[in-house]
Symmetry: C2
């Protein structure tokens, strides 16, 4: 079985959900009605050493990571984060480690007005779960399943940088530092996600890799995509280091970028882009379009075959 | 460091919490305001093999346990459970194991109208986290910190049965079966908890052991307790098997019973007990009283020294 099979099995075997549940298992978060005007969005994500970060990772970056990945899920729903619950399992409780861990996530609490209000600590294998609850105005949450034929596909920031950083770490290198930082300290696009709830027809965060995550969105919407390779946002320093083909592979297949991938109805393009740039310095790139069927890559208007490079990634 | 030190460190180092947070880190659950009439109660608990259950445990009992322990925390807050998010980490994904796991918790979903609406599955060490959200009428949640001098101390069900069951399992025995069942399939007192929100001045669930958990409640309330050993609810079959002293130790120090321990103002005793017995068949025992200071055990009105028996427990 794969992870998705487990989720499908659970969905098949458990009783159907109640009327106050607006969105259940299968998206970045769940949504329930809490009053006439607001809905509650909840995400829960777990990370463990060896699967989501390297054994050499500092507790500072682990503390940042567990909050960043959950905030990224909240962002992908278009919700405002409010409250967090942390479950920390460690084989031994070392004060310096814990202090580094707390220092790793504290800035994210302050920056996003997020309150850590509960959880537990146990002795066990190194593993950290976090649940974040957020709120969104009634019916304004954004899912993976409402993209429409002709919608434009956008992505925030750069792609492949975290995968390149992980590759450097695994190769025992510590330069260029910006990519190692991109892997260790991903930036959740929280305010951007809230803003996008007024524009995006669908949204997902890029955690498993741009291609895989975009496929979840197009499959969820029963549609396909056409993506222009030459419009993928890739840092110049990465192209300089590893060349074009390897960079494209990392951008498409590498994970851990925690950027937002979203779709905008084409008639909203001008208004959306103007308001975005009025509000944010965060880069956005229009990389393609939702189409009726099939998934294609284009390069200079020619079909482009993506090679499945065997670089390491989590 | 101990687990409690970690929680205190987190509490000391993170920014103070927002006004909509009614109850933060340190109780069975957190409480936040969601509208004029209702509050949201959230619990998050994690279990792992070797710390919370034996390597020989069936996935059926593990599935039951993770939901039961979290429902028990919700019960101890006096809240009605509503929505659950599950994080499942397993070294390999085996269909039979997963089906047994789902079959283990499904009856608890149906019984308590609880909806499992999100979470994730990862490959990693065997560990399961669950977060349950519940609701409670404004200001009606029950904490550990509001017991008053003279309040009566009650406990539901029996004490020590789960510890005896675990002892049997660790000794390779499979009789008497009722105690093994008590350990593997604890009953969360959900409806009782909701009912108690109208009566109890303070409440905690008995997970770590009656003595330890009652101490959390009395320390939280800056008070002490006097408990009558002869009023502790202990199953006769346990007394028959292991004798008086060992049974008392298991009742006081053994964990995993997931009964509710709560305090009732003495003037409400008659009304409370009458309404309880009208509503529930669940046994309750009045085992002592909150007093101003010190923690005492009495047996036939004499002081009783509790021996710290070295029986195994988690």
């Amino acid at each position: 079985m794969k992870e998705d099979d487990v989720i499908n099995l659970i969905r098949d075997l458990i009783p159907s959900v109640a009327q106050d549940v607006k969105l259940s298992i299968g998206d970045d978060g769940s949504v329930v009605e809490i009053d006439q005007e607001m809905e509650l969005v909840t995400v829960l994500d777990t990370i463990t050493v060896g699967t989501h970060y390297l054994p050499s990772a500092s507790s500072n970056s682990i503390g940042h990571r567990i909050f960043a990945v959950n905030l990224s899920d909240i962002a992908a729903m278009g919700a405002k984060p409010k409250w967090a619950h942390l479950s920390l399992s460690l084989p031994k409780l070392d004060k310096l480690w814990i202090e580094g861990f707390i220092a790793g996530f504290s800035p994210l609490l302050s920056e996003h007005d997020l309150n850590l209000i509960g959880g537990d600590t146990i002795r066990g294998p190194e593993m950290i779960s976090l649940s974040i609850q957020g709120v969104v105005k009634k019916d304004r949450y954004v899912t993976r399943v409402n993209a429409n034929d002709g919608d434009l596909i956008y992505v925030t920031g750069h792609l492949g940088s975290a995968a390149f950083g992980l590759h450097l770490l695994k190769s025992g290198k510590d330069e260029p530092k910006q990519f190692i930082h991109d892997f260790n300290f991903p930036t959740p696009r929280v305010n951007e996600g809230i803003f996008l709830s007024d524009f995006a027809s669908s949204m997902i965060d890029v955690s498993d890799g741009f291609e895989v995550d975009l496929l979840k969105l197009t499959k969820g919407s029963n549609l396909g995509f056409e993506v222009n390779i030459d419009q993928l946002p890739i840092k110049k320093e990465m192209l300089d280091c590893i060349g074009f083909d390897q960079s494209i592979s990392m951008a498409l297949i590498g994970g851990d970028d925690y950027e937002l991938c979203f779709t905008i109805p084409s008639e909203m393009r001008n208004e959306f882009e103007r308001k975005w740039h009025d509000r944010f310095k965060t880069k956005i790139s229009m990389v393609g379009m939702i189409i009726e069927s099939s998934n294609n890559y284009k390069y200079n208007d020619q079909n482009y075959m993506v090679e499945n490079k065997n670089f390491e990634h989590f």
